[in-house]
Amino acid sequence: MSGPHGHTPPGEPRRRITRTTRFFVVLATASAGGLAWRDGAAGLLDALGDAGILLLLVTPVILAALLLGGYVQALLPYNRVARWLGPDSGWRGYGLAMLGGIVTPAGPFAVFPILLALRQAGAGFAVCVVYVTSWATLGAQRVLIWELPFLGFDFVALRLLASLALPVIAGLLAAVVAQRVSR
C-alpha cells in the first residue's frame, strides 16, 4: 500500500474541502471589497491582474511538485523508517528524523499519519518533535513550491541557515518534558 492510510484515498473528506474553500472565498471577497472601496475599480483590477499573473507562474510548479510529493509518498519505506526511529535510536534517530522531515511531502496528509505510525512503532516524543519540526521549518517540497518562487533564493538561503538548528533545539527541549507526555 502507499502508506499508513491503507485504502483511504489521499486528501481530506469532502465536507472539509468545502469548508476550507469557503474560508478562502469569503476572505478573497472581503479583501477585494475593501480594496475596491479604498482604491476604486481600477485599483481592484490592478490587484486581480497581479494575482492572475502569480497564478499562471505558480501553477506549473505546483503541478510538478504535487507529482514529486506523490512519488516520495509512494516510494518511502514506512516500516523501515518506523524501525529506524524507534526507541533507543539516540542521536542517529535525531539525524534520521531531521532528514526524514526534509523529504516528507509538504501537505499535512502525509506527515501526520507518518507521525502516528512512528508513535505506534515506539518512537519517543523527542524524535517525533525533531521530525515534525524539521518537516515544518526545513521541508524541501514547500521551499520548492512556495518559498523559492515567491521570496527568492537569497531569502530562502538566509531562512534555511537560520533554521538549521531548530529541529535539534526542539528535540532537546522535548527530551526534557518527554516523561510527561504519556505514551
Binding site: S2, L67, F109, V132, P149, A162, V177
Partner: protein
C-alpha cells in the same frame, strides 16, 4: 525568474524519483499519480481565491504600520510581533507565502518575516486542529506546541545576526 528555477529543480527531482520507481517498483507511478490528483483536487479550487486574498490584503496593509512594527530596524520587538502574527495566521501556504511578499513590499524586515514564517509553519492553526489534534491527541499536540514557542524568535534572531555579520 525564481519560478523558473523552482520549476526546473522540481522537474529534475521528479525525473530522478520516476527513474527510481521505474527500476524498483513500477506500481509507484500509479500511486504517485493518484496521490497527486487527490491533493490537486484540494488545492485547485482554493488557489485562485487565496492568491486574490493575499494580494488584496497586502495592498490594504498600511506600509507605515508594517514598517514601524516589523521593519528592518525594529530588531527583537519586530521579531516578537512577527512571531505572534505568524502563530495566529490562518490558512495554508497559498495564503501565507503570497502574504509574505506583500509584507516584504510593505517594508517588513527579512528577520521579522523569517520569524513569521517559522511561527506559522510550526503552529498553523487549521492544520493543528484538523490533523494533529485528532490523530495524536491533546497531550502530544500541547507539549509539541509548548516546545516550539521559542523557535520563531531563535530563527529570527539568527537571521538578524547573519544579516549583521554579512550584510546584503
Amino acid at each position: 525568474m525564481s519560478f523558473a528555477i523552482a520549476f526546473v529543480l522540481v522537474v529534475l527531482l521528479l525525473l530522478v524519483l520516476a527513474a527510481v520507481a521505474a527500476r524498483r517498483r513500477p506500481s509507484a507511478h500509479r500511486e504517485a499519480r493518484d496521490a497527486a490528483r487527490g491533493h490537486l483536487r484540494n488545492i485547485a479550487p482554493r488557489l485562485p481565491f487565496a492568491l486574490v486574498a493575499a494580494e488584496c490584503i497586502g495592498r490594504l496593509l498600511p506600509p507605515e504600520i508594517v514598517g514601524a512594527w516589523m521593519g528592518s530596524g525594529t530588531g527583537l520587538s519586530g521579531v516578537l510581533i512577527a512571531s505572534v502574527v505568524g502563530a495566529i495566521l490562518p490558512g495554508g501556504p497559498m495564503l501565507a507565502f503570497p502574504l509574505a511578499i506583500a509584507l516584504l513590499r510593505a517594508g517588513a524586515g527579512p528577520e521579522a518575516l523569517i520569524a513569521l514564517i517559522t511561527a506559522w509553519s510550526l503552529v498553523a492553526i487549521n492544520r493543528t486542529l484538523l490533523f494533529e489534534l485528532p490523530l495524536l491527541g491533546t497531550r502530544f499536540t500541547g507539549y509539541r506546541l509548548a516546545v516550539c514557542i521559542p523557535l520563531p524568535v531563535i530563527a529570527g534572531g539568527c537571521a538578524g545576526l547573519l544579516l549583521t555579520a554579512a550584510p546584503g
